[in-house]
C-alpha cells in the first residue's frame, strides 16, 4: 500500500505520520573512542600538589589516570581523530554518513559551528547536515535522542554522533579537585536503521536553577572579558570566574535527588517493571556511582563502574564505558541496558538500549 493509498483510506493526513514512522527503528551501528596521548597519573598530581593524598583520593574516585589534550589539540581535532579511527576500522560507513551531530562545550570558535569544520576536514559531502549542541555529561543520551528523531522522520539515514570535550583547558592551575576528576576524550557513535543495539524510549530532564554549581562564567556573551576573580568557596573549592567551577557537594546532591527517579521513569517508559539487565551510567567517579547504585538497589554485577584510566570525560563517558563493556563481554545479545547521563545545566537523560 503506497503512502498515498494509506492517506486516502484514512480520509485525512493526521494518522499518516504515525503509520509511516511507527516501524522505523534507530540502532547504534558503530562505536569508537579516542583519548589524547598525554596521561597524568595520580603520582604526577602528587608531585604538583604535595598536600594531596593520591592513594586516598584514588580509592574514593576510582581514578588512576586522566588524559589531557595537547595545548594545540582542540575538541574539534579530537572529534576528527575519533571519526578517522572509526572510518579506518569500518571504511564502508564513511560514504553513508548524511548528518553530523557534535556535542561539545569546547568549540573551536564562537562561530562558525565546529560540526561544519568537521564535515570539511573529514571530506564528507556538502549534502551532509551538521550542527553542534552544547551539553555536558547528559550529551550522549541527548545526542541519541536527536539522532533517533532525525532517522525516524527520514531526515537522515546515518547519523554520526560525536561527543568531544577538553574540560582540562578550563581548569585553574591550582584546582586539584577538578584536575584529578576530569580527563579529555571523544567518542563517535553511528546511528542507523540497523545495528547492534536498538535505541529505546527516553526520559529527559532539565533544571537550569543549578547553573551556578558547574560553570565557566566568562567568555560567553554575558561576560565576554575575563573578570579575574579568584576566591575559595565555602567547601574549599577554587571559585574562579575565568575557569571551570564545580560545587562538588551540590552536584552530588543533585545527582542523588534526580537520577533514581530518572531511571525509574526511563524503565517504565520502556516497559521494564523491575530492573534493566545492565546499567551504564555517566562515569563521573566511583564514589558517586557506588552511592547511586546503593540508593537504587541495583546489584553490583549489573552496574558498570570503570573510569580508572580515563577519569570523567564528560559527554564521552557512556560511549567509552559501553564500548569497554562490550569488549569485556559484559553486555550480551538480548540484554536491555539502561544508560543515563547527568550533570552541567543541570541536564539529565536516560535511555534503554536493546541488544
Amino acid at each position: 500500500m503506497s503512502p498515498f493509498t494509506v492517506q486516502s483510506a484514512l480520509k485525512g493526513d493526521i494518522h499518516l505520520p504515525t503509520i509511516l514512522f511507527a516501524k522505523m527503528d534507530a540502532y547504534i551501528k558503530y562505536l569508537e573512542y579516542y583519548l589524547p596521548q598525554k596521561t597524568v597519573s595520580n603520582n604526577d598530581l602528587q608531585q604538583v600538589f604535595p598536600e594531596w593524598d593520591a592513594t586516598k583520593v584514588a580509592k574514593k574516585t576510582g581514578i588512576e589516570f586522566r588524559h589531557q589534550s595537547a595545548e594545540n589539540e582542540t575538541a574539534c581535532d579530537m572529534a576528527v581523530s575519533v571519526c578517522e579511527k572509526l572510518f579506518a576500522k569500518h571504511p564502508e560507513v564513511k560514504a553513508t554518513i548524511d548528518f553530523i551531530l557534535l556535542c561539545t562545550q569546547s568549540p573551536d570558535f564562537k562561530l562558525p559551528t565546529s560540526a561544519c569544520l568537521i564535515q570539511d576536514r573529514l571530506g564528507l559531502p556538502n549534502s551532509v547536515g551538521a550542527l553542534d549542541f552544547n551539553l555536558g555529561c547528559s550529551g550522549w543520551v541527548y545526542g541519541l535522542s536527536l539522532a533517533k528523531g532525525l532517522l525516524c522522520t527520514h531526515i537522515a539515514s546515518n547519523v554520526l554522533l560525536i561527543t568531544s570535550e577538553t574540560y582540562t583547558k578550563y581548569f585553574h592551575p591550582k584546582d586539584k579537585g577538578n584536575i584529578s576528576l576530569f580527563g579529555d576524550g571523544a567518542a563517535a557513535t553511528v546511528v542507523s536503521n540497523a545495528g547492534f543495539a536498538a535505541i529505546g524510549e527516553f526520559a529527559l530532564g532539565t533544571d537550569g536553577s543549578g547553573e551556578n554549581n558547574l560553570k565557566v562564567k566568562t567568555g560567553g556573551a554575558r561576560f565576554q572579558k575575563p573578570l579575574n576573580e579568584v576566591t575559595v568557596d565555602d567547601n574549599g573549592y577554587i571559585l574562579a570566574s575565568d575557569y571551570l567551577y564545580m560545587n562538588g557537594p551540590a552536584i552530588f546532591n543533585f545527582t542523588l535527588e534526580t537520577v533514581p527517579s530518572l531511571l525509574e521513569q526511563c524503565l517504565a517508559k520502556n516497559g521494564l517493571h523491575d530492573m534493566a539487565d545492565f546499567y551504564i551510567l555517566h562515569q563521573a567517579n566511583k564514589f558517586m556511582l557506588d552511592t547511586l547504585r546503593k540508593i537504587c538497589g541495583i546489584p553490583k554485577d549489573r552496574f558498570y563502574v570503570d573510569m580508572q584510566n580515563t577519569a570523567n570525560t564528560v559527554s564521552s563517558t557512556i560511549p567509552i564505558a559501553l564500548k569497554d563493556a562490550l569488549d569485556k563481554n559484559l553486555v550480551h545479545k538480548g540484554d536491555r541496558v539502561c544508560t543515563a547521563g547527568f550533570g552541567v545545566g543541570y541536564s539529565y537523560g536516560a535511555c534503554v538500549l536493546d541488544f
Binding site: 586516598k56 583520593v57 574514593k60 579537585g177 565555602d234 567547601n235 574549599g236 573549592y237 562538588g248 557537594p249 551540590a250 552530588f252 546532591n253 542523588l256 535527588e257 533514581p260 531511571l263 525509574e264 524503565l267 523491575d274 530492573m275 564514589f287 552511592t291 546503593k294 540508593i295 537504587c296 538497589g297 541495583i298
Partner: protein
C-alpha cells in the same frame, strides 16, 4: 525498580556517632563522641562531607547540604538536625 537501602531507619545517637566515625578513614574511632566537632579533625574535607551526605541519604532518605553540615558544631547537633528534617 526494587527499593534501595534508603528506607528510613531508627538510629540512636550512639549508632549515629559510630556511623559518622566510619566516614573517616584515618581518624581513630575512639575520638568520636556526641560532643565531637568532627569538622576540626585534620582529615575533614570535601570528600568526608560527601560521605556524610551519602550516609544520610542512604540511611534516612533525606537530603542535607554541605552548608547544613557546616552549621553543626557537634555530631549530636548533626544528629538532631537530621532527625528533625
Amino acid at each position: 525498580m526494587p527499593k534501595g537501602t534508603h528506607s528510613i531507619l531508627v538510629m540512636t545517637l550512639q549508632e549515629f556517632v559510630q556511623n559518622i566515625a566510619e566516614q573517616f578513614d584515618d581518624t581513630d574511632s575512639s575520638l568520636f563522641t556526641p560532643e565531637t566537632d568532627f569538622q576540626q579533625f585534620e582529615e575533614w574535607g570535601s570528600l568526608t562531607a560527601l560521605s556524610i551526605i551519602a550516609f544520610v541519604k542512604m540511611n534516612y532518605g533525606k537530603k542535607i547540604t554541605a552548608l547544613d553540615i557546616r552549621s553543626c558544631n557537634s555530631i549530636q547537633e548533626l544528629y538532631e538536625f537530621v532527625e528533625n528534617l
